[in-house]
Structures are given as C-alpha cells and as structure tokens.
C-alpha cells in the first residue's frame, strides 16, 4: 500500500494542473465611456475548467465590476451565451483546454443586440420575435381539457430536435441577416415556431406559418448555417428553417 501513496506524491510534485491563461474580455460601461475596450486578465487556472469558471475567478477575485449573465451554470438555462474566440458558445459548456489556452481567449457579448454592460445584452428584441410566433399550444377546442392530449411516438419524433432549444440566442446573434437591422425573426423564433407547427396536437400551425411568411420571416434566411454551427444544443437549426419553408410552399401548391 505504500507504493501508490508515493506515486501520488511524486505526481503532484511533478505536474501542477494549473496553467496561466489570458482572458481578453470586451468591457463596456455606459456610465464611464461610450466606447467598448478590451481588457486582459491573467489567471492561474486548470485547463479542464470552463470559461465560465475563469469569468467567475475574475469577478470574485480580480475585478468585481465585470458583468455577465449566468444562472444554472450547467448549460440548460441559456443565460451565458457569449462570443468566445469569435464563435458563439455557452461559457458554461466551453472547456478552456478545447479553445487553445496558449493564445489569449477573447470573450465578447453576442452580436446584433444592444450591449447594456460588459457581456450583458438587451434580449428584448430576441424575445419579442419569440413571442411573435406564439410559442404555446393552441387548440380549436377551447374547453379545459379533461384528459391528457395523446400523441404517437412517431408524431413526437417529428419535432423532437426543436424541443431542445434553451433560448440562449447563440443562433440568432450569429446570423448575419439579423445583424443588419434586427427585423428578421431570427433562427431561434423559427425553431420554436417549428416545434409547434409540426406538433400533431397543435392546431394553429397555419397561423404560425402565416406569421413566418412575413417580409422578415423565413424567406430572409440565406442558409449560411451559422445558426447550426452556433447552437450549443446541437439543433439542426437551418434544417428546421428549411422545413418551415417547405411547409409554406407545399401548403400553397
């Protein structure tokens, strides 16, 4: 039993898990300056930690004024979508070792939405588009249901992919069409419309398709696949948008 203990002591002496990482964070404080600036932070951190842990370290130990959103910190609440090394990701799902810690790690707010402070953006336009597609079950039967609305496994499978959305806005804020004037509904709203349009229990698919037939609806999609690449939940966003387009065309002709 003596040997393993000795091994452990030796291993600990030989290699500390900590490395030095530079976090290059986009800082913005409207009460101080109208300009956003880059600020570098040097951290001693285990590369198996996440970017969010790095941000916590900065906020708790270095600079308490750093502002960012996070709630669950486990990739399900969708609060901490940010642009890390030029790509939209969830800070709580990105390991430092996976994004080349030798170079400075850039952390910016997501694009296309107004920055309020540091990494916090105004999500209202995003949620407005979400509300516009009526993301709730609508049935012609207005009486209160007396039993569960049943559905076959195949019918459930039809829209399974789009039920995974956590509304983090990583897709919408990676879309170049949304960046322009913010009038485009954006991938997230279309994904959530898709979730109900292809739900056999819902009866307002026609209405939702009509909403997405708008000038700023699905037809503004240029299939650049930025949204599919950005989605931290692995939803095939562009495919969902194309399915909505196809539904719009086939219902007419």
């Amino acid at each position: 039993m003596a040997t393993p203990v000795l091994d452990k002591v030796e291993a600990e002496a030989a290699a500390s898990p900590y490395i030095t990482v530079t976090f290059r964070v986009r800082r913005f404080n409207p009460e101080v300056s109208g300009e956003a600036t880059w600020e570098d932070f040097q951290l001693e951190i285990d590369p198996k930690e996440r970017v969010l842990d790095g941000l916590h370290k900065i906020k708790w130990d270095v600079d308490g004024t750093l502002t960012f959103r996070r709630s669950c910190a486990h990739g399900i609440c969708g609060s901490d979508a940010m642009r890390i090394n030029g790509k939209n990701r969830l800070a709580c799902k990105t390991l430092i070792k996976d994004i080349n810690p030798e170079k400075p790690i850039t952390v910016e707010p997501i694009k296309g939405l107004t920055v309020l402070k540091d990494l916090v953006v105004d999500m209202e336009p995003f949620f407005q588009a979400y509300r516009d597609v009526m993301p709730f079950l609508i049935t012609k039967e207005t009486n209160e249901p007396t039993r569960e609305r049943l559905q076959s496994a195949e019918d459930r499978e039809r829209f399974d992919d789009t039920t995974k959305c956590i509304l983090c806005a990583a897709c919408t804020s990676s879309c170049p069409v949304f960046w322009n004037d913010g009038q485009y509904f954006g991938p997230a709203a279309i994904v959530n419309a898709h979730r109900f349009i292809f739900d056999s229990r819902d009866e307002a698919g026609e209405q939702r398709l009509e909403i997405l037939n708008d000038r700023d609806g699905v037809w503004r999609c240029r299939t650049t696949f930025n949204c599919t690449d950005a989605c931290p939940r692995g939803i095939e966003v562009t495919k969902a948008i194309q399915e909505v387009k196809r539904a719009l065309i086939t219902r007419r002709f």
């Binding site: 009526m134 322009n180 037809w219």
Partner: protein, 160 residues
C-alpha cells in the same frame, strides 16, 4: 414545542391560504401580443415566397439556357470568330432563337435584380440608402429588359 401541527408525512398545513378565491380571481395573464382584428397587418403576402421560388426555378432554367448559349456562341463551329452581324441576323430569323434569347433576357435580368434586391436588404442599413439603391436597381432593370425586348422584336436584318 412545534407551533404548527405536523402530519405523519412531515408536511405542515399551508400557511396563509390563497389570496384569490371565486369572488376574487387571480389576474388573467394575457397572451403575449395577441393578434386580433385590430392588430395592424404586417407586410405578409406571398411576394417573398414567390421571389424565393422564382430564384430557384429561374436558376435551374438559366443553367440550361446560358450554358447552351455560351456553347453556341463561343465554342462550337469556329468559336467566337464567327460572330458578326450576319450570324446574329441568321439566328434571330428563327422564332425559336428569338424566344430563347427573350427568355434568357427576362429570366437573367429578374434573377439578377432580385438577387441584388436581397443584397441591398441585407447590407444597406438606412432606409434612405435602401430606397435610392433599389430605385437605381429597378430603373436599370426595367430599362435593360425593355430595350432588349424591343431589339429582339424589331430587329431588321436589312438595316443600312
């Protein structure tokens, strides 16, 4: 000891009781942005869908039309050196080639104009810039289509 009675499962009675009852119902939560008859209609219509479909269909047709056109004009039978007034006059003597060229002109111009329209929509940020760029685009498109059509239909091989 304990001020509240405890049941066997360890759950105490509900404290306070509900503020709302049958006579004082809880406030109704309105559906977000309810769409009623009074809600102003947005720009919904089928124009964007038609434009999108047109791009796909005209694109497929243009591949055939343009590649054949280029083959005839530039590769087959002596290549580009054979093209002259006589060659064009000979081709436009046939209604088949007239229709071919007319179709190519209209499809290519509308395809290109619609493509540029979406580019302007995507890249021009100010409403005024959009208006002017699109005005210029539509003017140029209409001018080219009309002039081309006029020439195809009124072409006179005996012109001096």
């Amino acid at each position: 000891m304990a001020t509240t009675e405890t049941t066997a499962s360890g759950i105490g009675p509900v404290e306070g009781g509900s503020v709302y009852n049958v006579d004082n119902p809880a406030p109704l939560i309105e559906a977000p942005r309810k769409r009623t008859k009074k809600t102003p209609r947005t720009t919904r219509g089928n124009f964007e869908m038609a434009a999108w479909l047109f791009m796909r269909l005209s694109g497929v047709l243009l591949v055939v039309l343009v590649i054949t056109h280029l083959l005839i004009q530039l590769v087959l039978d002596g290549g580009v050196s054979k093209i002259g007034f006589a060659f064009v006059a000979g081709r436009w003597a046939s209604p088949f080639w007239q229709v071919w060229d007319l179709l190519m002109l209209w499809l290519a111009m509308l395809h290109g104009a619609n493509g540029l329209r979406t580019v302007i929509n995507d890249y021009a940020e100010r409403a005024n810039t959009r208006l002017w760029l699109k005005g210029l685009l539509y003017t140029a498109t209409v001018f080219t289509i009309l002039l081309g059509t006029l020439v195809i239909f009124t072409f006179d091989p005996n012109i001096r």
